[in-house]
Symmetry: C2
Subunit: 202 residues, 2 copies
């Protein structure tokens, strides 16, 4: 069985236990002949896949009533994967979603690493520093690198930890964020877990 999570920049495949990525700009989905269960947040690719009968849109098997209309399907599927916890999906955006007793409670969206770096730089060249993921968030900053790092990460940390729940980190920047959330569980295949669960129950 082939699973695929399609975002804005890549197709993320899982084949048995092996996962790999293909660039959305260069990969042609017609080249795959076997059955693929997929979810997709990329509108262009969604249109292409509609005409390929071996590509099966798993979002049609989701109970959408548990979520809200404009919510990304990747956030819904990640939420399906857990019973209790707070999910941080650190990609081009950082989405944070809370699940209690298997029910989605709500969530929010924060800028991803690259987007936020650019934001500071665009405000002023005086704020063009790389983030310091080894920062001590218990100390108020007294230098520019830490002042923007703390601004980006301590604010997120303060809100996330205020919920006192298990934290599950996923997405392309999960390992970087794990330095800030040392108690979090990193699970880069969380969305595939959600997809398998939906398949099992459909």
């Amino acid at each position: 069985m082939l699973l695929c999570d399609i975002g804005n920049t890549s197709y993320h495949f899982l084949e048995a236990e092996r996962d790999y990525k293909k660039d959305t700009l260069s990969f042609d989905p017609v080249t795959i002949k076997e059955e693929v269960n997929y979810i997709c947040v990329n509108p262009k690719i969604k249109t292409i896949l509609k005409d390929l009968p071996n590509w099966i849109d798993l979002s049609t098997k989701l109970d959408m009533g548990k979520y809200y209309e404009t919510m990304g399907v990747d956030r819904m599927v990640a939420s399906e994967a857990i019973e209790n916890g707070i999910i941080i999906d650190a990609g081009s955006a950082v989405t944070v979603d809370i699940v209690k007793d298997g029910l989605f409670q709500g969530g929010f969206i924060y800028p991803g690493l690259n987007a936020m770096s650019k934001t500071y730089k665009d405000i002023s060249s005086a704020l063009e520093y790389p983030f310091n993921f080894n920062i001590d968030l218990n100390r108020l900053p007294k230098n520019s690198t830490d002042a923007i790092t703390y601004g980006y990460l301590k604010t997120l940390y303060a809100e996330v930890t205020s919920h006192n729940m298990n934290i599950i980190l996923t997405g392309g920047d999960a390992k970087e964020f794990a330095k800030i959330f040392p108690d979090a569980e990193v699970d880069e295949n969380l969305i595939f877990k959600g997809m398998k669960k939906i398949l099992m129950h459909s």
Copy 2:
């Protein structure tokens, strides 16, 4: 006595009790003949003012040892204005600085309203919503407008309020931010207070 706080977009003057702004692109400082005590974070204008003997740079009268080298002089002067509290200066960047017993403890930098709006929009057109300053931050969002608003403002709120200190709001967006920090004191002339204090003690 004329005081002036010069930022990237405007000269902010205080003459007796009246304050007014002039655009940095069109205003010519040579037109002012009386003595002006100023601070300036705009490098270009700084160079021009150096040659005008009636423009007096107040930053030379600051005890810089209390702060850090690359810190904006406007943050230093705002910090001089208070004995205890947490200052939120909401402009093109949002700077947050903590003062205890008249001593700067450290601070951080967060993106301003316009910058952060652009950030979400640039990540995806699906995140192009105006912020909702009437949001209830005690409820987890279940719609896109609130999901980005909460991401921008609840994170900041959680960090700022964790310090359990008086909050003083200043800067061009102070009134918008006051909706999120209802217990904060709004003082749009905080920097002028700091400047007067420096003048009195120098």
